[in-house]
Every structure is written in C-alpha cells, then in structure tokens.
Symmetry: C2
Subunit: 310 residues, 2 copies
C-alpha cells in the first residue's frame, strides 16, 4: 500500500472535523493545534548528519506545521530511538535543548526505546500549539481571485542537500537552510487573521501549491519568474528556468505559502516588514482545478515531478 | 547511553512543571493530559503478531497512561511506518478503527513514512485526554499510611507472552490479556478524585510500585499473597510464591495501581463495584524508601529483576 493509499484508508477512520480530513498540516482541537512528524535516517536525513541538526530539524519541521496554522508553540512530546552511541545521543539532546530554547517551547514528555541492532534511527515528535483567536487557517480556504504569497526564498535547502551530497560546491547559507530550517513561529500567527488559506512548503512549492488548490477546489497559476531565489542559490546555479523549476520542486523550504484577498496586500507587506522577512506574490487562484505554470508570459509544461513525495 | 541516562539528560531540558519531571505516565498541560508511547517490532511485539492486535495494543497502552491520570480520552495522533505489505497495513487500519471505536476516541492526524528495507516496524502514538476537574493524580502523591490498591488481576499478559513463545499451553484469557489490553478509561477518571497517587502497571507490579514509592519519597510494603491472580493464570501455574513473583514482575498488565487514604476504602470499593471491576489492597506506604515484600508473614528477598526495563 502506498503512503497515499494508507492515508486514504485512515481518512475513513479520521472522520471527526478536528482531523480536517487528514488533508491539513495539523489537527485543530478547540483552541489547540496538534501535529506529529517522523524523521527516519536514510529517508529524511543522511546517516552522517550532525545529531544536533537532526534534533533541530525534527522540532523545526513540526513547529513549521504549527506556524502554518497560525499557532504559537506550547510544547512537544518526543519519541526517541536510542542509538547505542552515547555521543550521538548526547549531541542530539544538545540540539534539542537549543531548538526548544530558540522557539520558547517546552519538552513535555515522550518515550524512549532501544531499537534492534542495525535498525535505522527514527524519531517522532508531536508539537502542540495555541490556535489564533480568529481560528487556524486551513489549506482549503483559497478563493478564486486570491493572491498567492510565499515567504523568504525557495530552493536553498534543495541546493544545501546537493552540497551535502557533493554535487555542488558548498556555501553556508544553503547548507544551513537544509540543516536548520527556521520555522516562522512569529509571522505565522501574525499573518493568520489576514489569509484565506495557509500551509508550509515542506515538499516543494509546486506540489504544495497544487495540494492547496485541490483542497480548496480552485485552480492555481504560478509565475515562475516570481519565485524568490536567494543570492546564495544564484551564486551556484544560473538564473534559468531549470533552476527555478528545481527550486520549486526540491522541498524542505519550511516557508509559508498563503492565499489572501488582493485587498490584504498592504497588510501582508506591513506585517512582513515588521517581522523582518520577505514576502513575494507568486501567483493567483482561479476557477477550475490544477496548477498552471507561466514563464516569459507563456504557459509551460509541468515538470514530471512536482515535489518530494515520501 | 542507557535509556535511564538519556531520560536523566532530557530531564535537564524538561524543566517546566507540565512535564512532571518526566517521572509520570503523562504530561499535564492545563486541563489536558498528553502521552506518547512507541512500540517496535522485536522489542514490544513479536514479528508474527496480528497487525490488528499491534494497532490495538499501541492505542491501548497510551489510553492506559491517560486512565492513570484520570483523563478521559479525546484523540490520538499516529506515527506509522509503512511496511511494504498492503495486507498488513490494511489489517492494522482495521485494528486501529476497532480500538478507537471501542474507546470513543478520534484519530486526529499524524504522519506516515516509508522505512528503509529490512527496518523493523515501529509505530508511535500520542494520546490526548481531558484531565479530571480535581486534577490529574501524580505518581508522587503517595503518603505514609496510604493503602496501595491494584485493579483486576496481575500476570495474565506475562503468561500470555509465555504462551505465544510456546513455553506454556495456550488459554484464551491470558493470550487476550497479552494481545488486547483493556485500559481502564472509565474507572481511571472515576477513581481519580479519591487517590493520592496513581499510575498504570506497564512494566511489572513490583517495579512500578517501587517507582511510585521513589517518586513519593515513601517506602512501600507489598503482601505477595494479596497479589490478585486470575483463575486462567492459576490453571497453568501452581499457586506458589514463584508464580506470584513472576506475575508481579512480568509487566504488560495495564491495570491501575493507586494509593489512597484508608478512609477512602469504602468509596474505592463502591466505585469498583459500579464499574464492574475488581480492586484489591496489596500493600501500604510507610516512611522511608524502597520496597519490601512480605510472604507468609515473613519478609522475603527482592527478586533480581523487579520488572521489564526497556
């Protein structure tokens, strides 16, 4: 059974509205937002990744899901598989402490298990946050005519992974984006009252935009020239369409993608300026279904792969 | 690093009172109780266990932690590693549906990951419950003079495991206790206002009673003749001290162990009668530290192993 098939099966069980049809970044239970993500060695992180960075990423990806629902982090529960390597475990604990302090989040509890010899390291984290008073934005609220925005820049982490694999010369900005994503735990709650729909970009801008479109029953058009790329990325990749498509399908960005009424544009820009982050309109929602890419005023074919599927 | 060492390290991070020093069955955040337990193939369940029963046990052990804090289950988040075996995944989903319906609990969300080939199946579950209005009893509230009670019978699951391993002739009661523990999600909330301390018996009556004593700064005396054994267990084991010690150190019981003022005894018995379950006073708390076992009016030596340590 594929992941998609299994989730479809779980959807027949998770019929309570709090589960949001298993089609959102997180569950919303009263004024709480809850999310659970796992990371597995060899799948989500390289075996030689620094344990401090593994801990950081495990927490950061979950806090990014909270941010996408406008939720302020409260605490986390950790599922930890002991590795039989005390230095590794200690370094993981250091990274955990560091990321929790950085995001003012507490360790509430969890479980620790010994794994059979040779099993890959695998970790789970549940993050709990407080939903905004105006409600947690869903993925499914985008309306035809909405502007589609993305925070920060896209593709740094994908290039960072390529650097880790020795495919490109390393630079610190892209490596850091891959190793230590920075969830937008302040901007997410700030912008939430102004959006119709929001999610984080974890699997790739194209696939995540398509998911938002599908959940909302809208079509989406993305302008490839508008996809914000960092100077660090452009230092190692030429600014051509292929670079933009690679950036928009690489995933691991943990930026926020949100749909808002065009009338909200000024509020969006002001809140971003206050938070000290960039926001870029990358497209718009229309009637219909599916995703359309535009480059040089031409419609272009979708790439074979819209993003990372697990 | 051992599990105990790693948890000690995490304790330096989990300093918020909500984490209860990582020394309780669950975290208590406002009126919510949260717990996370993992189960791993080859460690917590046998590779040939029925997937329906693996799902049942994963949920049941977490709901038992909620019951131990007097919490009524609300929902769960599932961390699932796809197995590459569709029949197995489908059967797991069936068991999940069954146990959630049985305990009126909703699937809120979670995560699904593909695992590298050959990795053991491993699953995590976070359960969220509503704490009783009188507060969630801690492990640490036992006072000298308290009676120590246990629900149901002890040792069935341990014998069930021995049956699964072919060491003893099978009987359905003990096998069912091993495969499908029945968390006391009604009695836990009912008894909570009447106890000084409560926890579930997951690793063995002796080790769990010792943990409660240590957390409370008390000594505990347990009367081995009083440990309640089922007719099903006594059908395959002689009623001798070794059987009682084996039962009290086997774990996987998911009964509730609680300390209450002797004046509460009548209320305890009435609530148990209402719930249709047995409760048995098995000992008492005193000043000092550690656990003392009494049999035939004699103090007896502690066994080398007080229970299951992961």
């Amino acid at each position: 059974m594929s992941e998609a098939d299994f989730i479809a099966r779980l959807r027949t069980i998770a019929t309570d509205p709090a589960a949001r049809g298993l089609a959102d970044d997180a569950a919303v239970l009263g004024d709480l937002v809850l999310t659970h993500d796992m990371i597995v060695e060899g799948i989500h992180f390289l075996p030689d990744e620094r344990p401090q960075d593994v801990a950081w990423k495990l927490v950061a990806v979950n806090l990014s899901d909270l941010a996408a629902k406008g939720a302020v982090p409260i605490g986390v529960l950790l599922g930890y598989s002991l590795t039989g390597d005390s230095e590794w475990d200690e370094a993981f604990a250091q990274g955990l402490d560091e990321v929790l302090r950085r995001y003012d989040t507490i360790l509430l509890g969890g479980d620790t298990v010994g794994m059979p010899a040779g099993a890959p390291r695998s970790f789970g984290l549940t993050a709990i946050g407080r939903a905004p008073a105006t409600g947690a934005p869903a993925r499914s609220g985008m309306r035809p005519g909405d502007q589609l925005w993305v925070t920060g820049t896209i593709g740094n982490a994908g290039v960072g992974l390529a650097m880790r694999l020795g495919e490109v010369d390393a630079n610190e900005t892209c490596l850091a984006a891959y190793r230590r994503p920075q969830p937008l735990t302040d901007f997410g709650p700030a912008i939430a009252p102004h959006v119709h729909a929001m999610m984080d970009v974890s699997d790739g801008l194209l696939i995540d935009a398509e998911r938002m479109a599908a959940a909302s029953g809208c079509a989406v058009t993305l302008m490839m020239e508008a996809v914000p790329l960092s100077a660090a990325l452009l230092a190692v990749r030429p600014d051509v369409l292929d670079t933009r498509l690679a950036a928009a399908t690489a995933g691991d960005d943990y930026q926020l993608l949100f749909a808002a009424d065009p009338d909200a544009a000024q509020a969006v820009r002001e809140l971003a300026a206050t938070a000290g982050i960039a926001v870029t309109p990358v497209g718009y929602a229309g009637v219909g279904a599916g995703i359309t890419l535009v480059h040089s005023a031409q419609r272009i074919a979708l790439p074979d792969r819209l993003g990372f599927t697990h």
